[in-house]
Subunit: 202 residues, 2 copies
């Protein structure tokens, strides 16, 4: 009993929460970086920069908490492992920053990325919600878009506002522009539902 | 007409193919690295090491071809962009290598990763194909596992043999162990199909 209590002590939930956020961010940021270059979007690139700074902040927080929490050799051993994964997640986010650096070049200098993302296993695509879609007025959690179609919504543009990694409570509306990631087949299915060509299955 | 021909000239298909492979690998390798630590698998870690070397090789090939193909200022500009994305993909694969370095530590030193992968948006899980599953004897392309369930199969273990990033022609068999990545909801659905509790929808 004491041991499991101690486990909570030297691995505070906040370190775990930080690591979960860092892992999630390291995945989102790569998708956003490819999308930024693909759609030549300064707004998406700006979000990548923002997440990159956030990752710096998270890693600093993580180090602080880890150093404060470490009391025994066992603590140090576990926390060193956590710091190593955190470091890997931050390295990934730096790579995303390198990708959006391409936006500083003339657009003629980067005509290849749409091709690459077209051919890659996981594709990044964009689609618009039609007023005829049966997905409207339902939230993403209720629709279970990812498990129904395999497509992950990485960003939604509504009017002039972007919503990155939209929470599952997001309700879809007519005209929403979705940036999604997944297979070609999943994209085709989702497009049929978004256009209203087919009714949502769930 | 001449222009589009030239475009093929100075951006040879092989550079694009290399970049597609590097992008796909940079995604697979991260999933495999997390799975290696999560399931304490030296075999998965070995595949991560193998892919890491492969990425070094691909980047070298890419540089060679790019340098040979570059003739004009415009060529150089485009090829520099390609090299930058290739470099980002390689950085990501190095981060995957850092993650599997954790396997060199005692297992007690890394009890946190299952927790993190449990809480993260995209989860890595394992499941076994039951003899009662209606998915058996069908290939992955035909089943369209990813667009039906949102789960991506990152590796299959059959007997003592691992199959990483299995091709879509892979036919599922009883006893296959699948390492999959996706949402909790998608995992639950796939588990029902894999166990035979529910028939495959497609």
């Amino acid at each position: 009993m004491k041991e499991s209590f101690e486990e909570v002590e030297y691995e505070p939930t906040s370190v775990k929460d930080l690591l979960v956020e860092m892992k999630d961010t390291s995945e989102l940021i790569i998708d956003l970086a490819y999308a930024a270059v693909m759609f030549d979007s300064d707004e998406l690139a700006e979000e990548v920069r923002h997440l990159e700074s956030r990752m710096d902040f998270l890693r600093y927080q993580m180090r602080m908490i880890a150093l404060m929490a470490s009391r025994t050799r066992e603590d140090s051993e576990r926390l060193a492992g956590i710091l190593q994964v955190a470091s890997a997640a931050e390295t990934i986010s730096n790579a995303a920053g390198d990708i959006v650096d391409l936006l500083e070049q003339r657009i003629e200098a980067r005509p290849f990325l749409p091709f690459v993302l077209q051919e890659a296993e996981e594709k990044i695509r964009i689609l618009r919600m039609s007023k005829k879609s049966s997905m409207l007025a339902r939230d993403v959690a209720d629709l279970r878009v990812e498990s129904e179609t395999g497509m992950r919504i990485i960003a939604i543009r509504r009017g002039r506002r972007w919503n990155y990694d939209p929470p599952s409570s997001t309700v879809l509306r007519e005209g929403d522009l979705l940036i999604v990631r997944g297979t070609e087949d999943g994209y085709n299915r989702l497009t049929r539902y978004a256009s209203g060509e087919e009714g949502w299955p769930g």
